[in-house]
C-alpha cells in the first residue's frame, strides 16, 4: 500500500502529511512533484496545505492545471481516495472535484489556531474510526476558508450527509463564535457524491502526536489506511 503526497510549488504541509503517514501511521508514502505525469501506482492521494503558486489569482486556481492534476482527476473518477487539506481543499474545488468555493474569511484576517470540529458523518472511508457527533480538536491556518455554495448545492450536501465536519465549540454546538471564517452551514469539510474525495480546511496532519497538542487528526489517516487494507487485492 502506498499513498502519494503531491508537492506543488508553495506547498508547505506536504512533509507533515508524509511524516504522519510514515512515522505515525506506519504506511508507505511518497512525494509526487506537480510536474509528474504519473501517480506511481498510489492507492490514495493527498493534496496538502500551503500556498501553491503563491495563491495567485485565486487559491488553488493555478495548481488545478498542474500536469499531475490530470492524473489526480482520473484517479478520483476511477474511485481512488483523494484527501485535500486546506489549500488541497481549495484545489479540489477549483478542479471541480468538489462543489462550491472557498472565499476570503469573513473577518478578512488569516486564522491560525485550534478549532473544534464535530464529526457529522462517520460512515465515510476517511472517518470510520470516529463516532458520529464526536468533537475533535485540530488547527486551522488559512485566509480563504469561507465555504460558499449556492442554496441548492448546500441543501444537497446536507441531505446526502456529505458535510463531514462542522465547526463547533468545545461542547459540540454550532455557535456563531465557533465558526472561524464565516463558512456556510459551519462547513469545515465535505465529501464528493461517490464518497471518495474529501476536502477539509483544518489540518489533521498537525494533530497526530501528543507533542503536537492533539492526536484527534490521526483517525482520518487510520480510517483511510484501514479502508485501503480492506479493499486491497489479496496477496498472490
Amino acid at each position: 500500500m502506498k499513498i502519494s503526497v503531491i508537492t506543488f510549488p508553495g506547498s508547505n504541509c506536504d512533509y507533515d502529511c508524509y511524516k504522519a503517514l510514515r512515522d505515525v501511521v506506519g504506511v508507505d508514502a511518497e512525494f509526487r512533484w506537480h510536474k509528474d505525469r504519473e501517480l506511481g501506482g498510489a492507492d490514495a492521494v493527498i493534496l496538502p496545505g500551503g500556498f501553491s503558486y503563491g495563491d495567485y489569482l485565486r487559491a488553488g486556481s493555478i495548481a488545478r492545471f498542474s500536469p499531475i492534476m490530470e492524473k489526480v482527476v482520473e484517479f478520483a473518477a476511477d474511485g481512488g481516495p483523494v484527501l485535500g487539506i486546506c489549500n488541497g481543499f481549495q484545489i479540489l474545488c477549483e478542479a471541480g472535484l468538489l462543489p462550491g468555493a472557498l472565499l476570503r474569511n469573513e473577518g478578512l484576517t488569516f486564522q491560525s489556531h485550534d478549532v473544534h470540529l464535530r464529526v457529522e458523518n462517520a460512515e465515510t472511508l476517511f472517518t470510520s474510526g470516529y463516532q458520529k457527533g464526536q468533537v475533535l480538536r485540530m488547527p486551522i491556518a488559512h485566509g480563504e476558508g469561507n465555504y460558499h455554495a449556492d442554496t441548492e448545492t448546500l441543501s444537497r450536501l446536507e441531505g446526502d450527509g456529505r458535510i463531514v465536519f462542522r465547526y463547533v465549540n468545545a461542547e459540540g454546538e454550532t455557535t456563531p463564535w465557533a465558526n472561524p471564517n464565516g463558512s456556510a452551514h459551519h462547513i469545515a469539510g465535505i465529501l464528493n457524491e461517490p464518497g471518495n474525495v474529501l476536502g477539509m480546511m483544518p489540518h489533521p496532519e498537525r494533530a497526530v502526536e501528543e507533542i503536537l497538542g492533539s492526536t484527534d487528526g490521526l483517525g482520518i489517516f487510520t480510517s483511510l489506511v484501514e479502508h485501503l487494507s480492506a479493499t486491497a487485492p489479496a496477496p498472490s
Binding site: L57, L108, H148, G182
Partner: protein, 90 residues
C-alpha cells in the same frame, strides 16, 4: 495578426459577501468620505493578445475567463477592449 490590449475585470458576484469591499467601505467612511453607497472589491488582469481583430481578441479573453481567470461560483467578469492595435515593442 495584431496585438490587442484587453482588460479583464473580475468582481465578487453581486449578493455574495464581499468582506474586502466592506472593509474598504468602512475605511473610507472613517476617513470622512461620506455618501459612498457601495464598495466592491475585485481585481483586473491586463492582457495583450495576438489576434486578427478585436473581436477575436475578445473571444479569446472570454475563453480565458471561463477556463481560468474567473471562478463562476464566486466571481463575475467583464471584458473591456482597452484599445486597438498596440504597436510592436510598445
Amino acid at each position: 495578426m495584431s496585438r490587442h490590449r484587453v482588460e479583464v475585470l473580475i468582481r465578487p458576484r453581486p449578493g455574495l459577501l464581499d468582506p474586502e469591499g466592506k472593509a474598504i467601505h468602512h475605511a473610507l467612511a472613517s476617513l470622512g468620505f461620506q455618501g459612498v453607497e457601495e464598495v466592491r472589491g475585485g481585481k483586473s488582469v491586463s492582457l495583450e493578445v495576438e489576434a486578427k481583430d478585436p473581436a477575436e481578441a475578445r473571444e479569446r479573453a472570454e475563453e480565458m475567463c471561463r477556463k481560468l481567470l474567473a471562478n463562476p461560483v464566486m466571481e463575475d467578469y467583464e471584458i473591456q477592449m482597452a484599445g486597438d492595435d498596440v504597436p510592436e515593442g510598445a
